[in-house]
């Protein structure tokens, strides 16, 4: 029998439901000395684009109530260095590795996915579809269901590995967007990315972030993303990896009850690098106390759900 906290999400078997979120997790080896990687089901690496991206002008970080706003701008080394230097450094990592893919055009996503399909260390792929699409005059790929489906189909054609699609939270209706990703061939949905936000320095009368706008993460967005997970689970029954403000086992259980099979932890690492291990221990204790056979039995099992 498998361990009570092991789960399968989007065709990927995870030893635990705790996954390090893209961006915060770097290239997988930076946190080695502070984060107990044995507690993790997977690490989602920093988003990789076909060419290197320099990222946004600093400051890239602003503190917010119960959260953090970042405007790093997906700075990354680009596909070549990623494959040549970053992936080989992960041979000894005890958990699964998920590559997060970013791009400014559908062809860029496709090229990166095709290249990573042949990389043995990559266990699954996650598409970040919140990037501005150059062809759609900067609108995010996930803003239109039709365009998103085509993008996911393109990527699906290039890989047999599990394919996750990370959706943006700020859409008029997330259900058609989620369905488009699933129709395009996604094995699972990551719900959701950061919430668009800004901060202003009252004394300086300036935006805090060099990029003016950024993405809010942390407990502040948890109630927002929790509702989105619930909406999508009810409408589609899809495999969902929840993301947004997971900083303890209670938050993880809430997301699982709403319909998620696994949770991503990102911002919580900054406050508490032991958060992943503490969440797994807390989940384990919860499962034993409530006498469930395993976490997967709890997915979507919300009581009194009249929505």
């Amino acid at each position: 029998m498998s361990a009570p906290t092991s789960v399968t999400a989007g065709r990927l078997e995870l030893a635990t439901p705790v996954v390090l979120a893209s961006g915060c997790a770097g290239y997988g080896d930076e946190w080695l000395e502070l984060v107990d990687l044995d507690a993790l089901g997977a690490v989602v690496l920093k988003g990789v684009s076909r060419e290197p991206w320099p990222g946004n002008a600093p400051p890239r970080l602003a503190e917010a109530p119960a959260g953090v706003i970042n405007a790093v701008g997906l700075e990354n080394v680009g596909l070549d260095v990623y494959v040549r230097e970053k992936l080989p450094a992960l041979d000894d990592l005890p958990c699964k590795v998920v590559a997060n893919v970013v791009g400014k055009a559908a062809g860029e996503y496709r090229d990166v996915v095709a290249a990573l399909d042949g990389e043995g260390r990559v266990d699954a792929l996650e598409l970040n579809v919140s990037c501005p699409n150059v062809k759609a005059r900067g609108a995010a790929f996930c803003a239109r269901a039709k365009g998103l489906r085509a993008l996911v189909e393109d990527c699906r054609d290039e890989t047999t590995k599990p394919l996750w699609v990370k959706l943006a939270p700020m859409v008029t209706d997330i259900i058609p967007v989620a369905k488009a990703a699933l129709d395009g061939g996604a094995d699972a949905l990551t719900i959701a990315n950061t919430v668009p936000a800004m901060a202003i320095d009252a004394s300086a009368r300036r935006p805090v972030l060099g990029n003016v706008y950024g993405g809010l993460s942390g407990p502040a967005i948890r109630p927002i993303n929790l509702r989105l997970v619930h909406l999508v689970y009810k409408a589609t029954g899809a495999d969902i990896i929840a993301s947004g403000g997971v900083d303890g086992w209670e938050a993880a259980v809430a997301y699982v009850l709403a319909g998620a099979r696994a949770v991503q932890v990102g911002t919580a690492l900054f406050d508490n690098p032991a958060a992943p291990a503490e969440i797994v221990a807390g989940l384990d204790e919860y499962i034993r106390r409530e006498m469930f056979d395993g976490l997967s039995f709890l997915v979507g099992k919300l009581r009194g759900d009249r929505a």
Binding site: G55, A57, P58, F270
Partner: protein, 274 residues
């Protein structure tokens, strides 16, 4: 790299001008810490997600010292800790750097926190160490008693002349032809290394810009880059410093710095932010 998390006990919290010197019992981090490195300090009370990056002011035996000026809610809470209370630390972070024997240190205000450990190590090992130290007012010239105790050759400068020479520290850099008061500079040359080949600076950004401009090309300038930080380990890329090469790229201050070779910095992009 030897990053660790340690719950440190506050041994003492001493006033130093408008700042506080926190002496902590943190054996593991104190043993690992080297000059110019920093720790990430969890703000007591639990309302802040981001830890505060603070330079290792000094480390000896089991004791780690942090010089903290209350500039915001987070640092204010850290400054309020009393002996016996605990502080959650991670670190030490950042690169090590071997100080050349002829180095001149330049500090501005609370920036002395970033260079004191290096000065102290030099002085304790019997080397001659020199510091040009400027601040707005006398109350913001910190650690003066400790610098004197160590025998650091320090020149003090305040903007209002309330202590030491009047003006900006950069106006008193010895051997620099563009320095406005050549007379005073000539006097100082007897006290400081005649012409510094290496300058290590920690202070406000405008000070770095001036140093970069007035130092001639055969002097090497290193600046301690303080940026908003989240992870400390180079993962999140939040603490970006504009880099010269490749064009448009950034240095992660936490992992590649925080002491950065000024010749690697894109000063044109950085100056726009001063």
């Amino acid at each position: 790299m030897a990053h660790t998390r340690e719950i440190a006990a506050v041994v003492a919290n001493e006033a130093d001008g408008d700042a506080r010197l926190l002496r902590l019992s943190a054996p593991r981090i104190a043993a690992a810490a080297r000059p110019f490195q920093f720790v990430l300090v969890k703000v007591p009370g639990g309302d802040f997600i981001l830890r505060r990056p603070l330079s290792v002011f000094d480390a000896r035996g089991d004791e780690l010292a942090l010089l903290v000026r209350p500039v915001g809610d987070g640092t204010a809470r850290i400054c309020c800790l009393v002996p016996g209370e605990n502080l959650d630390l991670t670190g030490p972070f950042g690169q090590r750097f071997d100080v050349p024997a002829d180095a001149l240190f330049v500090a501005g205000g609370i920036g002395v926190a970033g260079v004191f450990f290096a000065l102290a190590e030099g002085a304790r090992s019997g080397r001659k160490v020199a510091l040009l130290y400027g601040a707005r007012v006398a109350a913001q010239l910190y650690a003066r008693a400790r610098l004197a105790e160590l025998g650091v050759e320090a020149i003090f400068v305040t903007e209002d002349g309330s202590s030491g020479h009047k003006g900006l520290a950069t106006e008193y850099l010895p051997g620099v032809p563009s320095v406005k008061d050549k007379l005073i500079s000539a006097v100082l040359e007897e006290e400081l290394p005649a012409y510094p080949k290496t300058v290590i600076a920690c202070g406000p950004r405008p000070m770095y810009v001036v140093l970069h401009k007035i130092l001639s090309e055969d002097a090497r300038l290193y600046v301690l880059m303080e940026e908003r930080m989240a992870c400390g380990v180079g993962a999140c890329r939040s603490c970006a410093v504009a880099a010269r090469e490749p064009e448009g790229s950034y240095i992660a201050a936490c992992e590649e710095g925080p002491l950065v070779d000024a010749s690697l910095v894109d000063w044109n992009r950085l100056e726009g932010k001063v």
